[in-house]
């Protein structure tokens, strides 16, 4: 009887260790999968950085300063249409127009959708100060943050900055500074003075463009280029 009990106890203990081992492997697999995925996402944004490096940039403007057509967009990082415009309009604009040196494009901050919109704009300003506005805005738009739900909280914005290789401490200092807040406030005030009712709002050579479809913007740009003989 005693032998039987000892045998039962030993087999129970060994099956317990197998279970503990399986649990450790499962937890490690989750940790490895999470880190692999995050590294992969970060690597994609690094590729984006090399993509942006081919264009001349100055602050939030991309493209040559003497381009015959200048497109501006007043935007908010939390606005779904601005996120769509980033994918469907801005990338096409860069590949087909800015890359040829005919068009310059400038983002203007108009954070109207809550505190995280303001913070995201200030963070983008800090990225601009550190020479990384374009890869940073690309990453923020990719997050598709909406409704002030933490995507653009202070800590996450600093974490995104680190993700594209910026110094997190310097970035945090900038984010807390009054200069970031003042820069964004000035652009906001400018949009209010222009009487803008929403985002995104596009201007081509200083004239506001009312869009029914995204294609309308390219039509206006083409007309401006034709008028300039390009």
């Amino acid at each position: 009887m005693a032998k039987k009990a000892t045998k039962k106890s030993r087999s129970g203990a060994s099956s317990m260790w197998v279970t503990v081992g399986a649990a450790v492997v499962l937890a490690l697999a989750l940790i490895i999968a999470q880190n692999w995925w995050n590294d992969r996402q970060a690597a994609q944004s690094i590729r984006a950085a090399s993509y942006w490096a081919q264009f001349p940039t100055e602050g939030t403007r991309i493209g040559p300063a003497d381009a015959v057509v200048h497109v501006e967009e007043y935007f908010d990082f939390q606005c779904p249409h601005c996120q769509t415009a980033s994918d469907l309009v801005v990338k096409r604009l860069l590949d087909e127009y800015v890359a040829e040196g005919k068009v310059a494009f400038t983002y203007r901050f108009y954070p109207i959708l809550g505190p995280e919109s303001v913070l995201a704009a200030q963070a983008a300003y800090c990225a601009m100060e550190m020479g990384a506005f374009w890869p940073y805005q690309d990453l923020l738009f990719a997050k598709k943050g909406m409704g002030n739900r933490g995507t653009f909280s202070r800590n996450n914005l600093i974490s995104y900055a680190r993700q594209i290789g910026l110094d997190g401490d310097a970035f945090a200092q900038c984010l807390d500074s009054t200069r970031a807040a003042q820069y964004v406030q000035r652009q906001y005030d400018q949009a209010v003075r222009l009487g803008l009712l929403g985002v995104p709002t596009f201007f081509v050579n200083g004239r506001q463009v009312n869009l029914m479809t995204w294609e309308d913007l390219f039509r206006v740009i083409d007309q401006e280029l034709q008028a300039a003989g390009r």
Partner: protein
């Protein structure tokens, strides 16, 4: 003599009571797991924007629930947590009605893996994200207790 006579039935009652307690543990853990599923479900709903996340006066659960560590390969951690708790609730209920060593081991493996992963996430909150989420910490304590209680019951059965 009278004390010896009265001792035996009391001891038998005590042992029977303890055995009944031991037999009921899967049901208790299934109940706790349902609570955990509700908590994780709430965090998941907030993550996908279906609900507003209330953090309370302490911590910053918005930052944590939106950080890059709130997903595993695009799947929200809160959803994984909810599935884990629901699995544990089902396994606990099954164990109560039909005890099985294999099922008990499988349930313990899931609970322990959940507790370890949750410990890792809590470490990230403290040292990487720089913010704490009260709901995530509650879930960490809950799954750690479930794993500990499950492991203790298994060890007793094995002994």
């Amino acid at each position: 003599m009278s004390s010896i006579k009265s001792f035996k039935p009391q001891a038998a009652e005590h042992t029977a009571g303890r055995q009944a307690d031991q037999a009921r543990w899967p049901l208790g853990l299934a109940g706790l797991s349902l609570g955990g599923a509700g908590l994780s479900g709430y965090l998941w709903q907030a993550k996908v924007g279906e609900r507003e996340l209330t953090c309370g006066p302490w911590g910053d659960c918005l930052t944590v629930n939106a950080s890059v560590y709130s997903e595993v390969m695009g799947i929200p951690v809160a959803l994984l947590g909810m599935l884990m708790y629901l699995t544990l609730a089902v396994v606990g209920t099954l164990l109560y009605w039909r005890p099985s060593m294999l099922l008990a081991n499988a349930g313990f493996a899931v609970a322990l893996a959940g507790a370890l992963f949750s410990l890792y996430l809590t470490g990230l909150e403290a040292f990487v994200i720089g913010a704490f989420c009260i709901w995530c910490l509650t879930s960490w304590v809950l799954i750690t207790y479930i794993a500990w209680r499950w492991g203790r019951a298994l060890r007793r059965q094995a002994a």
